[in-house]
Structures are given as structure tokens and as C-alpha cells.
């Protein structure tokens, strides 16, 4: 312990200018955030972004980048002070215990990387009206994610390089190699949807290999072996992408429910043009590969009262009378069925070659659907008010009357999957999907934290009663309108399928049909 503190104290004395610079950056981060927040509060949440405020907002954006750069510099300086590469360093023939050296460096990182940002995040949370105690685990989870994605890789690279310039070059090289590995992995992966838990592979692999490299380097200074471990990371990433059977991963995450499925899907073409089995909702022409997006209408049955379905993936197989057979990859789906919903759809992307060849021939379509059965866990109804209201386990929400928006903030991470319903017309502030009366927010993943320096997640949506006629003035909601936040939790993941005989590909819409559709949208 004495040696740990001895080395730590020396590092503090040596790097006080760097430490002070980083602390100043973190302090500026907190102060600027406070100022922007205060102005935003004075303006009832509608901050204007001109003049000083605009400048400070830009500066705040820079700080969010500069602080990690400061971490990089400080970690490099601390590790290279007793560098582990080479055979001429003063310390290797002094009575250093490698465990003490490693612990001293980690203590340094905790004291000047983790602690300042943790305290800053606590201040930010408190300032924005969140209670600290329930959010401490989330903040610690954020630090853990920060360790896996930023701090540990920086320490690992610092231990296998001899100077800051070499570390910088290695880091740039590592980013390029990592980017290439991710690209290769994406090419190797046949799925277009990721199975739950697959996102853990990269950080877990990264933590294990980086930690092994750091331990090996501190204990034995086997630089090439440690470097090999770090090089193994992108290689393994590619290897896993090539070797992991996609179907196996999806089946593992979404077990096939079979006859015991809590929900059955059947084809429901009646609401469409009688000649088509679905509707053509878009086309894409990327790198010369033209595809059509087809919406297949479905009807749900058998689902328990109060339960809903979050459809997350779909895979289509098409069989033609001439023996032609085509199977898609797993494609992402983001369709949610609320308790009581009876009709829905599955969107599939089909290559133009398949569509063009069989658009006038009935085919058999087999759909496999990966989904999560969800259940309403808690519903909170609050009256629309310009005063901030707290929605338990969701966040804090304010009605910005002039903008016709409901702005919400959640602490540390996006909230659990929640349906926000005003009973009126709602528009997602970040998208254009119209969901009359309701708006989905959050996810079912239930991640304990997210990698963000700013610990508050802002989101919002416009909500109003409608317009006076087509394209007319917006009629705002009245104060006191009840807004219901219904939180959903996952019950189980499952996979089910259905086969549609005599499926007719939808025809491409005519100009008149497109005009009608446009009018309907207005």
C-alpha cells in the first residue's frame, strides 16, 4: 500500500498541469451546462440558440469531445511515466512491485478520470431535478461502459507503446483496423437484425483481451505477446462474424414457439386491393441492387388480454410454382402491437429480380417472425402542464405550450419501453411516423447504462389536437389534457411463422394512387 501511494503521489506531482487542465475542462463542462440549463428554464424549455448561448452550446459540444481527449493524454502520460516497453527504463531495476505499479496507475485513473466525470454527472443530474440515490447504479454502469469502450483500450495501448506519439499512431491504426473488422463482420453477417445479447460480444471480447494484455505487460513485460492479444481482437471479431451461425443466434434468442405460441398471425388481405396480397411501400436502389419493400398485412389472434407484441425481425421465404426458391436474411422490424390490437403487418424487402419475375404469378410466402411478448407494467397519467411533472421510472416531462411539444428527460439512459398517449395526434420529434394519439419511447433491452458523458437523455414529441381543415392552423391541446405513460416489460421472446398460399405481389402504384395517398396523409 505504501508503494502504491508513493507512486501515485509522484504521478500527481509530475502531472499536475495535465490534471488541472482536465479538471478545468470538466468544471467548464458543468458550468456551461448549468448556464444553458438555467437559460432554458427561464425560457420555459424553449432555449434560443443565438448569441452567447449559441457559442456556449458549441463550446459544450467541443468539451464533450475534449474531455475524452484529456483522458487519453492523462492515461498516456501516467502509463508512459514508467513505460513497459523497452529495456532501458530506470524503474525496472528498482524495487517496484508490478502489482503496486498497476494499482497506482489504476488509482490515478480512478482519481482523475472517473471521479471528476462521476461527480460532474451527479451535479448535472441534481441540477436537472433528478434524485441522485436511485441513479447511482446507472452512473456506475456508465463508468463500466466507459471502461470497456474508452479507458481500458487506452490503458492497453499505452502499455504496449513507448511514447505518446507512438501511442497516437497505434490508436489511429487500431481505429482503422477496428473499422475494417466491423465492416468485414457486417459483410460476413447474413442478418440485417441483431439478436439480443449479440451486442455484448464486442465489449466482452474487448474487456477480456485488453485486461489480459495489461496484466501480462505489467507482470512480465512481454510486449509482443501483449500486442498479439490486442491484434487478436479484430481478428476474433471477424472470425466470430464468419463462424457464428446466424440462424443459431436468432433461434437461441427467439425460441421457436410452435403450437404453444401465445399469438397467431394470419394473412389479412381484405383491407387492401382485392387483387394484391400486400402493398408496395417503397423501393431502394443501392449500388445497383434494386429492392422493393412490401408490406404484408397480418391479423393477430390468441394473445392474452393486456399483452402486446413487439415485432423485431422477419425472414421471408418465397417459393414459386416453377420450383424457384428464395430466402431473405433476417430483416429488422419495428412494429408494436398494443393490447387489443388486431391488425398489423410485416414489411419485407425483396430483390427486384424476384419481384419483377413473379409480380404476376401467385407464389407461396413463408414468414418467420421474431418478437417479444410485452405486458403493461405501470401506467401513470398526468395532466398536461407547463410545470415539470415527474413520471415514475420514466423521467421528468414539461409541456412547452408555444411549440406544442412535450419535452421529457430521463436520467442516465433511455427509459424502459413506454407508450406515451395523449388521445390526440402525436408526431415523433425525431421522425415522421404518425401514430395518432400515441408515441413509443425507450427500449426493452433494459441496459443498465449508456456511454454518454452527459447523463441526461432528452427527447420529446409534438402533440396537438389536429388542424382546422387540410393544411389549416394547428389546434393546440388544452392545459390539463391527460397524458398517459404506460411502461411495458418483456415477458418472453419467441419465434413464430405463417405460410401464405397464392400470394400476389402488389402492383406498383399509379400516379393517381400516389396522389390519393399524399392527400390522405395530409
Amino acid at each position: 500500500m505504501k508503494q502504491i501511494l508513493h507512486i501515485f503521489t509522484k504521478d500527481v506531482r509530475r502531472f499536475w498541469p495535465e490534471i488541472l487542465t482536465l479538471l478545468a475542462l470538466v468544471a467548464a463542462f458543468v458550468l456551461i451546462h448549468s448556464y444553458i440549463w438555467a437559460v432554458s428554464m427561464r425560457n420555459d424549455g424553449a432555449a434560443s440558440f443565438g448569441g452567447t448561448l449559441g457559442l456556449l452550446t458549441t463550446l459544450f459540444g467541443f468539451l464533450v469531445v475534449l474531455i475524452p481527449v484529456g483522458w487519453w493524454l492523462l492515461i498516456a502520460r501516467a502509463v508512459h511515466e514508467e513505460r513497459l516497453v523497452g529495456d532501458t527504463q530506470f524503474w525496472i531495476t528498482r524495487p517496484y512491485e508490478w502489482t503496486s505499479l498497476l494499482t497506482a496507475k489504476l488509482l490515478f485513473v480512478v482519481a482523475f478520470v472517473y471521479l471528476p466525470i462521476f461527480l460532474a454527472q451527479c451535479v448535472l443530474l441534481a441540477e436537472e431535478g433528478f434524485r441522485l440515490q436511485p441513479n447511482i447504479p446507472g452512473l456506475l454502469a456508465n463508468l463500466l461502459i466507459m471502461t470497456a469502450t474508452v479507458v481500458l483500450p487506452l490503458i492497453a495501448i499505452a502499455t504496449v507503446t513507448s511514447s505518446f506519439s507512438r501511442m497516437t499512431l497505434t490508436l489511429l491504426g487500431a481505429l482503422l483496423v477496428f473499422g475494417a473488422a466491423v465492416t468485414v463482420s457486417a459483410l460476413a453477417t447474413t442478418n440485417q437484425m441483431s439478436s439480443p445479447g449479440s451486442g455484448l460480444i464486442t465489449p466482452v471480447l474487448e474487456i477480456v483481451l485488453c485486461a489480459a494484455a495489461v496484466l501480462l505487460q505489467f507482470s512480465l513485460r512481454k510486449t509482443w505477446l501483449s500486442r498479439s492479444l490486442l491484434i487478436a481482437f479484430p481478428v476474433l471479431l471477424c472470425a466470430i462474424a464468419f463462424l457464428a451461425p446466424d440462424q443459431w443466434m436468432i433461434n437461441r434468442a427467439y425460441p421457436v414457439a410452435g403450437a404453444s405460441a401465445p399469438v397467431q398471425f394470419t394473412h389479412s388481405p381484405s383491407v387492401l386491393r382485392p387483387t394484391d396480397s400486400g402493398s408496395l411501400i417503397g423501393s431502394n436502389n443501392m449500388n445497383g441492387n434494386k429492392t422493393y419493400r412490401i408490406r404484408v398485412p397480418l391479423e393477430l389472434s390468441g394473445i392474452s388480454a393486456g399483452d402486446g407484441i413487439a415485432s423485431e425481425g422477419v425472414r421471408a421465404t418465397i417459393e414459386a410454382p416453377d420450383g424457384f426458391h428464395w430466402s431473405s436474411k433476417w430483416q429488422s422490424a419495428y412494429i408494436k402491437y398494443l393490447p387489443g390490437d388486431q391488425f398489423g403487418s410485416a414489411d419485407i424487402t425483396v430483390p427486384s429480380a424476384v419481384y419483377d419475375k413473379y409480380k404476376s404469378t401467385p407464389v407461396t410466402v413463408h414468414l418467420e417472425l421474431a418478437m417479444t411478448q410485452i405486458k403493461a407494467a405501470r401506467a401513470t397519467t398526468v395532466p398536461l402542464s407547463q410545470q415539470e411533472v415527474q413520471v415514475p421510472e420514466f423521467g421528468l416531462c414539461t409541456w412547452v405550450k408555444d411549440l406544442g411539444m412535450i419535452n421529457c428527460r430521463s436520467a442516465v439512459r433511455m427509459p424502459q419501453l413506454t407508450l406515451i398517449s395523449t388521445g390526440q395526434v402525436g408526431y415523433h420529434s425525431q421522425g415522421n411516423q404518425v401514430e395518432p394519439g400515441s408515441y413509443w419511447m425507450g427500449s426493452l433491452e433494459g441496459n443498465p447504462g449508456e456511454m454518454h458523458i452527459v447523463p441526461v437523455r432528452d427527447f420529446g414529441f409534438t402533440s396537438y389536437r389536429g388542424r382546422d381543415g387540410v393544411g389549416g392552423a394547428v389546434r393546440m391541446l388544452d392545459p390539463g389534457t391527460p397524458v398517459t405513460f404506460t411502461q411495458y416489460k418483456a415477458i418472453r421472446r419467441l419465434q413464430t411463422s405463417l405460410t401464405i398460399q397464392n400470394f400476389h405481389f402488389p402492383a406498383q402504384p399509379t400516379l393517381n394512387e400516389l396522389r390519393d395517398a399524399q392527400r390522405a396523409a395530409q
Binding site: 509522484k10 509530475r14 523497452g86 532501458t88 524495487p95
Partner: protein, 314 residues
């Protein structure tokens, strides 16, 4: 059996295809000032780095202060002072803060000795190490390695590139510590080590040609000059201990590497019965090593001359 502070057996180190150290057997007695000499690239630094567990041997092993050098780490270095010509110091620290820092690692650190060394070396404590001259940095390194009274001081080319004044100061300081410690140093500056070393070992191309007490070494080497009546060709089959024999007119000169007065006189009388006069002059360490080195080179050259025609034919 003599107690050895350092002992190696078959110590070997390869770097790829290069054999840097070839089965070295060496013993450094306790209390000795052992000088390991050899030309550049002979393997001196490799040897020291193996002893200090900076490199791992390819074969063989070594014991330092009773510890296998492979286990030499952490606390074991509390008893060893190591200074190397190319050792990196904590450049950003001042000389004073470096001494303050190192003090915390050694339970035996002697503050009085530290103060004495600072005075003796006239160390500028407030100046950063990176702003010090090479000589001053070496003095700082010495002070930081002697102040805890180590049982073994290992120095790798400590005087290389230093001016004579600094060298004398450092040697003087070492000699003051000599009674309480064992000193193992490498150098190619023979004139300096001759004045204070008690033992010497000679490395050539990774092989230890000999390792013995300085007094014994000086005693067995003589520069021999024989004056003949008339010029005479060198006889064949001269004793192996005669290095670099050559004739100039009536003079025969060679280096005797196994000199014993009675035996040498008798030997000379047998080989040169017509010798008019002969002298056996003591040699400096530098002359001894030059003779050995030249002899080794000549032997290598004659070996390669002998093998070259065969290789050409092949």
C-alpha cells in the same frame, strides 16, 4: 569454496541467429571489483541485462546475491544498485525530487550518505534531469544507486563519454563504497579499470576468454624482447603461450601469456640458444588486451585463410 556474489553457468543468449553470449561460466567473489571488458558488441551489456533479469537467457542460468536472476524483481532490487550508460532516468524530475522519490523504495536508504554524495558530486538538486549534462546525470544516477548502500553495484559502461574529471570523481566514489559492497562493471576503457579493479574478465564475441584476479593476470603477461647475434627466422612450433611472435632484424618480440620467471628463462634458452640478451617487461592491461584481441583476430584470420580454398573448391 569462495562465496560468489554473481555466478553464471553456461549462460547463453541468442537474438535470432546472433549468438550474443555463448555458454559463459563466471564467478564474481564477494567484495570484488570485477571488470568485464571486451570490444563493442562482445556481449558485455547482454551479460549484465541477463544478470539483472532484463533479458531472459536462451540457456544456462545465473545467480545474483543468492537469487536466481530470473526471480530478480521487486524487493530483490533493494540490495542492488544498477547504473547504465544508456539507462533512462525520470527526465521530468529534478535531481532532488528523484532522490526524494527513490528514497521511499529503500528501507536502507542513508540520508547522511545521500547528502554526502550530493555534496561530493556537487549535484544541482533544483535542476531537472533533462537539463543536466551527461556527466551530471551520471553523477545523479550514481547518487541514486549508492545512497542505500547496496550489497552489489552493477555498472554498464559507466564512464563512457565522460570527461576525465567526472570519471575520477565517480571512481573515487566507487572506491569509497568498495569495502562494503561488490562491484561488477563493464567497460572498454582499460586504462581506467586497471587502476581499481580486483578482478577482470574478458569477453570476445560472446565467449568469456578468461576471468581472473587482476594481480594474477598482470603477473602472467610479459612483453618479451630477445636480442640475437644475427637475424634468424622464427622457429616453428613455438609455445602456445607466446602470442604474436615477430622478428625485426636481430630482435624477436612476443607476448608471453603464461609467464613464470624460471620456466620462461629456460624455455627461451632452449628455443634461442644464441640469444645475446632478453628482457621481460610487465604490461599494462591495455597492452595485454590488445595482444589477446590481435591474437584472436590473427587466429580467426588464419583459420579462415585455411578454410577459404576448401570453400572455394566446394
Amino acid at each position: 569454496m569462495m562465496k560468489a556474489t554473481i555466478r553464471t553457468e553456461g549462460l547463453t543468449r541468442r537474438f535470432g541467429r546472433t549468438l550474443a553470449l555463448d555458454h559463459v561460466d563466471l564467478a564474481v567473489p564477494e567484495g570484488a571489483i570485477y571488470a568485464l571488458v571486451g570490444a563493442n558488441g562482445a556481449g558485455k551489456t547482454t551479460m549484465i541485462k541477463l544478470l539483472m533479469n532484463i533479458f531472459r537467457p536462451t540457456a544456462g542460468h545465473s545467480m545474483v546475491l543468492g537469487t536466481d536472476s530470473l526471480c530478480l524483481k521487486g524487493k530483490a532490487f533493494e540490495r542492488i544498485g544498477y547504473v547504465s550508460e544508456n539507462q533512462e532516468l525520470p527526465e521530468g524530475m529534478t535531481a532532488g525530487s528523484m532522490l526524494d522519490y527513490f528514497r521511499g523504495f529503500y528501507p536502507t536508504w542513508d540520508r547522511t550518505l545521500e547528502a554526502q554524495l550530493v555534496r561530493q558530486f556537487d549535484l544541482p538538486l533544483e535542476r531537472k534531469l533533462k537539463h543536466l549534462s551527461r556527466g551530471m546525470r551520471m553523477k545523479a544516477a550514481f547518487a541514486a544507486s549508492l545512497a542505500y548502500r547496496p550489497a552489489l553495484i552493477v555498472l554498464d559502461e559507466p564512464f563512457s563519454g565522460l570527461d576525465p574529471l567526472v570519471r575520477d570523481e565517480l571512481i573515487e566514489c566507487l572506491l569509497e563504497r568498495a569495502p562494503e559492497t561488490t562491484i561488477f562493471l563493464s567497460s572498454h576503457d582499460l586504462a581506467e579499470i586497471e587502476s581499481f579493479s580486483s578482478h577482470v574478465g574478458y569477453l570476445e564475441q560472446g565467449r568469456l576468454l578468461f576471468s581472473e584476479e587482476m594481480q594474477v593476470l598482470s603477473g602472467r603477461f610479459r612483453e618479451v624482447t630477445v636480442t640475437l647475434d644475427k637475424p634468424q627466422a622464427l622457429p616453428e612450433n613455438l609455445p602456445a603461450a607466446w602470442l604474436q611472435p615477430q622478428t625485426v632484424d636481430c630482435l624477436v618480440r612476443f607476448v608471453h601469456s603464461g609467464y613464470e620467471e624460471d620456466v620462461a628463462q629456460k624455455e627461451l634458452a632452449e628455443i634461442f640458444p644464441a640469444a645475446r640478451d632478453s628482457s621481460f617487461d610487465p604490461m599494462t592491461l591495455r597492452s595485454i588486451f590488445l595482444a589477446i584481441a590481435k591474437n584472436g583476430r590473427d587466429s580467426a584470420a588464419s583459420t579462415s585463410n585455411r578454410t577459404a580454398p576448401q570453400e572455394a573448391r566446394a
